[in-house]
Symmetry: C2
């Protein structure tokens, strides 16, 4: 069988089985560590079979991944009732609904810290399910389009199920750089001083005795949904490019800037695409996800090197990249997410982090996770890893949305994911506020002036002025601070509702 | 003159002048970088003379320190109106009042990030005022009881004023380890893998041409006010020690734990003192301030080594330490605060950080800085540096205070300094909640049960239950979330006030 050539370790041959059979290795109440990071490199058949078991059995599983999974895997895990707990990230509407209706527990973690927490708590991982492009002659795993937490999972797991995905070309081998972090007090220096530095092996070293099953699949990664840049995202991109150009003019940065990180999604993708027609050159990325824009930048000759934990691209981009993979291969590295998101490396390299906010307040606090303070959107992801320890932390969002009923600049955020101390620059399509070195009252003026939408600007100004009469480092009227969110919940709009409507 | 022997660089001799004269080098609108960290190693005469000038002149100074200053220096700077802006920390009631009444701007920064931000913005420091115990034969500065941001200030300053303080013994020389961080992209690895590692020089290298004035003083550091442990702080200490003992029993930690960090103040001091009679041994500290308890632990043979950015002790402890300094000297090192609080080192060593909260909420968010969401207490200090990147982040506070009118566990914090993602363990005298790996709804039950005071427990429970009916990852009733703080403001108590009182 041609596919078996991907297993270069003969002792695994008798482990080959079907996804359904492999899924039977999972016991109720198990803790699973699964590969997959923003839809890339996840289990395409075994984990979905586990989800199906949930319809018939009371599984109560804890499923820990790198980040979000592709296709409907997270939806099926939620719908079938297989989950007791899910961490550290998700981006699925069905799972989200199950979280918000208390069908399961969701632990929203900094993506760079999950491996740390598992290691510190010595959490027992019952089964690791890891996608592979091939098995080395020593029985080690060559991952596919993401590394995520897979090296930590296989290290800590009792059993390992490997899913060999032949939809990926074998020459993916070589782009991974795997190095496990020893627990403290034996933690070593991470000797990365440039995005392109390699410190580990191109495979995940595992104990072959742990391998319980090997399954073949050829389902490709679920493609990223890439929306074309619109007027808003283009305006945001322009503000950021202008700002960075000015930093170069001031002598604070060079035209190659510092390594870029960008969150997942259309805004981040549009911002990076904006660099294609910029004056910047020899750019580098030290990020967690590489999207279509990364390859646009390579093609434009703007980007020298990109480091991340996953590659999540559209179908079209996937085709382009993996049929010409030798063209990109020596410019890429995929790392474990506690290295891609490591505080040590992020501070040392001086990352410029650009992430999306749900809302921010007039003092510079950012909400990345909760709708009106209670309902989960996706999760904090790696935004905190980069915002806290990077050189520059930029947060972006539109100033308004939903037919003007929502202002994304509010008096007080309804949930804080990034505190005023960790936010350097805020951007909407209206403009950019550089908050560095400013006190809260200075920030408020700048944020309202530069970032708020005109239809909400005067009410924000008035709030700030009225609150300021009572003094304080951070003036607030506590009885009104969350009133915009209350209005949205009650009346479907943050706009002031006329008295007769409000008194319903 | 005997004191002049402390200047081993003869070209400085003609720079010797009075504090009043030295203070005239400061111009209106200047940015000053001054030594001093939690009252230790600050300017005792020049900066106070600058403050006095504020009564007669419109100075509008920006004063950047390591952390808080001693005596009434911050109070005088505020009262005289000399300040336009103050950063990154303060702990003075008069200055606090000026901040809250909008007499000046206060920028509350992570103590480990001030040097980074100055360097990134290429901020012009007009004058650095640095306390020294001596001058080397090359003209370099040997600091006193703190390093703080002094090396960054002197590097970036146009002029340097040195204040030689003869109240400190000259054998302080040798305990400092100074290494400047190069700006990115040339930032190097910080090769500290143990608290005791030295990577720099025992002096601050400066350009002697920048030295504008040298002043002598013999005013000692303002002593720390050390309150004896009370029932509350002892109960908190006991909960923490029991928790750590259990972690050792579970095999997660060894009896020497991992390097300890403790915030400033009586609770942190009491907790560390608690280790004297514990079963832990060969302890180390990698902290920002060393208090009396550090030297108690040395005397008890429990502590092997302590690294920090300052030594802030009581008068009695100062006497003990500095008359027997050789006994302690090889067990101590003082570092720049961007090294003592470096994300790289904090993560690598795996710091156990213990810091004080003003309040925390039922989901594990911590407020360290703002009274009822608006008024400044001291500042975030280094708590965020350690909480975010350490091995374990513990926050402590009493469950109630002010004659039971304040519950320090609230439905929603009125200001967030440490988000739910960064808080591992919460402790009050009532008990301890280990939040690691828990979802918000799991945390809420544990926090209310273990940490809340009995008189507020049932209302917290009811809030959580009522909010939970509406679902959500983090259940809240937005219209009530901040009502406890509103009650405190309106009625002087967080307790539910009877209707007739409330309707005043």
């Amino acid at each position: 069988m041609k596919d078996q050539k991907r297993i270069r370790y003969s002792k695994y041959i008798d482990k080959i089985t079907t996804a359904e059979m492999a899924a039977t290795f999972i016991q109720p109440k198990d803790v699973l560590g699964v590969s997959g990071f923003t839809k890339a490199g996840d289990s395409k058949t075994v984990l979905p079979c586990v989800a199906q078991r949930g319809y018939k059995e009371n599984l109560q599983l804890t499923v820990i991944s790198g980040a979000s999974l592709g296709y409907d895997t997270d939806a099926d895990l939620a719908k079938s009732g297989a989950l007791l707990k899910r961490l550290p990230f998700q981006a699925d509407p069905t799972l989200r609904k199950s979280i918000d209706t208390h069908q399961l527990f969701y632990v929203d973690q900094h993506l760079g810290q999950t491996a740390e927490i598992l290691q510190n708590l010595q959490t027992k991982i019952d089964v690791a399910i890891i996608e592979a492009v091939a098995i080395t002659k020593e029985g080690y795993i060559v991952p596919t389009t993401s590394v995520g937490n897979s090296a930590t999972f296989t290290e800590m797991a009792e059993k390992i199920i490997i899913e060999i995905n032949t939809s990926f070309p074998e020459n993916l081998e070589g782009i991974h750089d795997i190095k496990l972090q020893k627990p403290q007090p034996n933690r070593e220096i991470i000797p990365i001083t440039q995005s392109s530095d390699r410190i580990g092996t191109p495979y995940i070293k595992i104990d072959p005795h742990k391998v319980a099953a090997i399954v073949f699949t050829k389902v490709p990664d679920a493609p990223a949904r890439i929306a074309s840049p619109d007027a808003n995202t283009q305006a945001i991109a322009k503000h950021i490019l202008n700002f960075l150009e000015n930093e170069v003019a001031l002598g604070r940065l060079t035209p190659s800037l510092l390594p870029l990180q960008a969150g997942i999604g259309k805004t981040a993708n549009a911002i990076l695409s904006g660099f294609v027609h910029s004056n910047f050159e020899n750019l580098t990325m030290y990020s967690e996800v590489l999207q279509d824009s990364t390859f646009e930048l390579f093609d434009a000759g703007k980007l020298k090197f990109a480091s991340a934990s996953s590659i999540t691209v559209s179908e079209e981009c996937f085709e382009k990249v993996f049929t010409n993979f030798e063209k990109y291969k020596d410019k890429l590295v995929l790392r474990p997410q506690n290295i891609s998101n490591s505080p040590e490396v992020i501070r040392r390299l001086g990352i410029i982090g650009i992430n999306t906010a749900i809302e921010f307040d007039i003092y510079g606090n950012v909400n990345s996770t909760h709708i009106t303070g209670t309902k989960m959107m996706n999760g904090i992801g790696g935004s905190g890893d980069f915002a806290r320890n990077g050189y520059l932390s930029v947060f972006v969002c539109p100033s308004i949305s939903k037919n003007d009923t929502i202002s994304h600049i509010v008096p007080m955020v309804s949930h804080t994911d990034h505190t005023e101390h960790d936010v350097d620059v805020l951007v909407t399509e209206q403009g950019l506020a550089d908050l560095r070195g400013l006190a809260p009252r200075e920030r408020a003026k700048l944020i309202i002036e530069n970032c708020a939408h005109p239809i909400y600007k005067s009410e924000l100004k008035t709030y700030f002025e009225r609150a300021s009469k009572f003094g304080g480092q951070t003036p607030h009227l506590l009885e009104e601070a969350l009133s915009w969110h209350q209005r949205l919940k009650l009346h479907g709009t943050m706009k002031k509702v006329k008295q007769q409507v409000a008194s319903h």
